[in-house]
C-alpha cells in the first residue's frame, strides 16, 4: 500500500514544483524586463515631465516624473521662440527640408533601383560597383569640398545645398529597393511585355505598385535622418529665418544664455513628437527595414 501510494504523490509534488518554477520564471522575466524598460525610458519621460514643470521645481524636484502643478504655458512661451522668430518658422523649415528631401530621395532611388535591378545595359555592373563603393565613403570626406562648391554657386542661405543632392537618390535606399524588386517574380514583367508594355510602363504599372512597403520604409528613414540632421543646416542656413528645428534648439538651449528651461524642455519634446508619431504608426516597416538591410534608425 505504502509503495503504490508514494509514486503518485511524488509525481504530484513534482508537477506542482514544476508549475511553480514556471510561474516564478514568468514573474522574474516580466519583472526584470519592466525594470529595464523603465530605466531606458526614464530620460525621455523626464524630458516630457520637465516640460510641464514650473521654473521653481524644474531643477529642485528633478527626479519626479509628476509635476506639482502643470505649466502648459511652457509650450506657448517656447513656441514664441527667440530673436523675434517663433518656432512655427523653424518647424516649417524642418518640414520643408524633411518633406521635400524625402520626396526627392525616395522617388529618385526607386527609379535608379529599377534600372539596376531589371534593365540590361552596357556598363551596368561598373556603375553598380561604384555605387556600392560610395556606401563605404565617410561623409566627412565630402563636407569640405561640397561646402566650397555650394559657396561658389552662391547657394548659402538657400535650401538648394540641402535638397538638390537628394535628386540623385540615396545609395542605401537604392540598394534596399533593389533587393525588394528582385523578389518580385519576373513572370509579371514578361506578361506585361508580351502585352506590349514598354520598360517604362512595366515600372510604373507593374513594379511601382508593389514597391509600396519598400518605399514607405525608405521614406521613414529618410524623414528621420533629415529631421534630425544638424550639420548640413548648420553649415548652409545661417539666416535665422531659414533655420531648422535642430539648429534652433541648439541656440535656444545655449547654456550661457538659456533661462526659461520649462520652455526649452517643451520645445525639445515637441521636436520629437513627429518622430514618435511615425514610430507608432509605422513600427512594422521600421523593424523590417533594419532587420533586412541593417539600416540604422
Amino acid at each position: 500500500m505504502e509503495i503504490t501510494h508514494s509514486v503518485p504523490i511524488q509525481a504530484e509534488t513534482l508537477r506542482i514544483s514544476h508549475r511553480n518554477q514556471k510561474r516564478f520564471n514568468t514573474v522574474l522575466y516580466h519583472g526584470s524586463v519592466i525594470i529595464a524598460t523603465v530605466i531606458m525610458l526614464y530620460p525621455i519621460l523626464w524630458l516630457f515631465a520637465s516640460s510641464f514643470k514650473g521654473q521653481d521645481e524644474i531643477w529642485t524636484n528633478v527626479n519626479s516624473l509628476i509635476p506639482k502643478t502643470l505649466h502648459f504655458e511652457n509650450y506657448t512661451n517656447g513656441w514664441a521662440g527667440f530673436g523675434g522668430i517663433s518656432f512655427a518658422v523653424f518647424f516649417k523649415n524642418s518640414f520643408i527640408y524633411a518633406g521635400v528631401g524625402t520626396l526627392f530621395a525616395v522617388t529618385a532611388s526607386a527609379l535608379v533601383a529599377y534600372g539596376f535591378a531589371r534593365l540590361r545595359f552596357r556598363g551596368k555592373s561598373f556603375w553598380f560597383t561604384l555605387m556600392l563603393l560610395t556606401l563605404m565613403l565617410p561623409s566627412q570626406v565630402l563636407i569640405v569640398p561640397q561646402y566650397i562648391i555650394f559657396n561658389k554657386l552662391n547657394w548659402i542661405d538657400t535650401f538648394l545645398p540641402l535638397l538638390v543632392p537628394r535628386l540623385g537618390g540615396d545609395a542605401f535606399f537604392i540598394f534596399m529597393i533593389m533587393q525588394f524588386i528582385r523578389a518580385i517574380p519576373f513572370d509579371l514583367d514578361e506578361a506585361a511585355l508580351v502585352d506590349g508594355c514598354s520598360r517604362r510602363g512595366i515600372f510604373f504599372r507593374i513594379i511601382l505598385p508593389q514597391l509600396k512597403p519598400a518605399l514607405i520604409t525608405a521614406a521613414i528613414f529618410s524623414f528621420y535622418w533629415t529631421w534630425e540632421d544638424f550639420l548640413q543646416p548648420l553649415l548652409y542656413l545661417n539666416d535665422p529665418h531659414l533655420q531648422t528645428v535642430s539648429v534652433a534648439l541648439r541656440s535656444f538651449a545655449d547654456p550661457s544664455s538659456a533661462s526659461d528651461w520649462g520652455a526649452i524642455f517643451a520645445m525639445l519634446g515637441l521636436s520629437l513628437v513627429p518622430v514618435f508619431i511615425i514610430f507608432i504608426f509605422f513600427q512594422r516597416y521600421l523593424v523590417e527595414g533594419i532587420a533586412t538591410t541593417g539600416l540604422k534608425g
Binding site: 527609379l111 556603375w127 563605404m136 565617410p138 561623409s139 569640398p145 543632392p165 533594419i290 532587420a291 541593417g294
Partner: protein, 324 residues
C-alpha cells in the same frame, strides 16, 4: 548619413527553395531580354547626376585640397605632405582627437553590442507583451541622434541634473560629470550604449533563424540555458555579430552631433572626437586644406580597421556551409 550596408545579413543567409527556383528561372529568362542601353541610362540618370556632381567631383577636389593650405577666402598654395606631417608629428590636439575617438569606439561598440545581444535574447520569446517591450527598448534609438536628445543628455548629467539627483538619493555626492576629464567621455559612451536598438533588431532577426530543433535536441541531452546559449546561439549568431560589429565600428568613428552639443570636445580635449575636430579645423579656423587631409586619414583608418576585421573574422565567424 548613418551606417553603411555591406550585405543584407538575414535574407541572403539561406535562400529558400522557392527563391532558388525563382532566381534560376529569372536568370534563364533574362537572356531573352534585349539590351536597352537608352532606357537603362534614363533610369539611372538621377544617380549618375548626383554621383558626378556631389560625390566624384568633391572627392577629386578633396584629394587636391589635402595637399594645399586652402582657406575660406580661396587662398591656397601647394604644400605637399605638410598637412600629414603636421597631423602626425606636430598637432598635439590631433593626437587627443585620435585617442578620444579610439577610446569611444573601443569601449562603446562592445558595450553596445553586448546590450543589444542580451536584450535581443530576452525579446526572442512568445511571451505576452514582448512587442511592447521591444518598442520600448528601440524607442531611444530613433531619437538618439537628434539635437533634442543631446541637449537633454547634457542637462541630465549637469550639476543639478537628474543623474546627480538619482545617485544623491543613494547617498553618492554629486559630481560635475561633464566638466571632469575622467568622466566626460563616459556620458557620451552611455548615450551611445543607450541606443542599442538597431543592432538589437538585427540580432533578433538572426535569433529567429536558429532552428528550434537544435535547442530541443540540446535539452534532451541535458544542456541548461546558459550552455545552450554558449554552444548553439553564439556560434550560429557569429555572422550577425560580425555584421553588427562592422556597422558599429564605422558608425563610431563618425559621431559628431552629440559631442558637438554635449561637451564641445571639452574638458581638456577628452571628448574631442575625430569628426568634431575636423569640423573645428574646417569651419572655426577655416583650414579647409588641413581638414581635407584629416578626412582622408579617417577614410584610411576606417578602411584598415574594416580590412583587419574581415581578416580576423575567419578565426571566429562560423559559416554553416564551411562546416557542412
Amino acid at each position: 548619413m548613418s551606417n553603411s550596408v555591406i550585405s543584407p545579413p538575414i535574407e541572403n543567409v539561406k535562400p529558400t527553395v522557392t527563391q532558388r527556383i525563382a532566381s534560376r528561372r529569372t536568370a534563364g529568362k533574362r537572356k531573352d531580354f534585349k539590351q536597352d542601353t537608352g532606357t537603362g541610362y534614363l533610369f539611372i540618370a538621377p544617380w549618375l547626376f548626383g554621383f558626378f556632381l556631389f560625390s566624384a567631383i568633391p572627392i577629386a577636389i578633396s584629394l587636391w585640397l589635402a595637399f594645399t593650405n586652402y582657406d575660406i577666402f580661396g587662398n591656397w598654395q601647394y604644400v605637399g605632405l605638410d598637412n600629414f606631417q603636421r597631423m602626425f608629428f606636430q598637432d598635439v590636439r590631433y593626437g587627443h582627437a585620435l585617442s578620444a575617438t579610439f577610446k569611444f569606439v573601443a569601449i562603446g561598440v562592445p558595450l553596445r553590442l553586448i546590450f543589444a545581444l542580451g536584450i535581443a535574447v530576452l525579446m526572442n520569446t512568445h511571451r505576452r507583451g514582448v512587442s511592447f517591450y521591444r518598442a520600448a527598448f528601440y524607442a531611444p534609438s530613433i531619437i538618439g541622434g537628434s539635437v533634442a536628445v543631446a541637449v537633454m543628455w547634457r542637462q541630465l548629467f549637469g550639476s543639478d541634473g537628474l543623474f546627480n539627483a538619482v545617485i544623491g538619493g543613494l547617498g553618492i555626492p554629486p559630481t560635475n560629470w561633464l566638466g571632469n576629464p575622467q568622466t566626460a567621455i563616459w556620458t557620451l559612451i552611455l548615450l551611445s550604449v543607450w541606443q542599442f536598438g538597431s543592432p538589437m533588431l538585427i540580432f533578433l532577426a538572426g535569433l529567429k533563424q536558429i532552428p528550434a530543433e537544435l535547442y530541443e535536441a540540446a535539452s534532451i541531452d541535458g544542456a541548461n540555458g546558459w550552455r545552450k546559449f554558449l554552444r548553439i546561439t553564439l556560434p550560429l549568431l557569429t555572422p550577425i555579430i560580425f555584421f553588427n560589429l562592422i556597422l558599429q565600428l564605422i558608425g563610431g568613428f563618425k559621431v559628431f552631433t552629440q559631442a558637438f552639443i554635449i561637451t564641445g570636445g571639452t574638458p581638456l580635449d577628452t571628448t574631442l572626437f575625430y569628426s568634431l575636430y575636423l569640423y573645428q579645423r574646417a569651419f572655426n579656423s577655416y583650414e579647409l586644406g588641413y581638414a581635407s587631409a584629416m578626412a582622408w586619414v579617417l577614410l584610411a583608418i576606417i578602411a584598415v580597421l574594416t580590412a583587419i576585421s574581415f581578416k580576423l573574422s575567419s578565426f571566429w565567424v562560423f559559416y554553416e556551409s564551411k562546416e557542412g
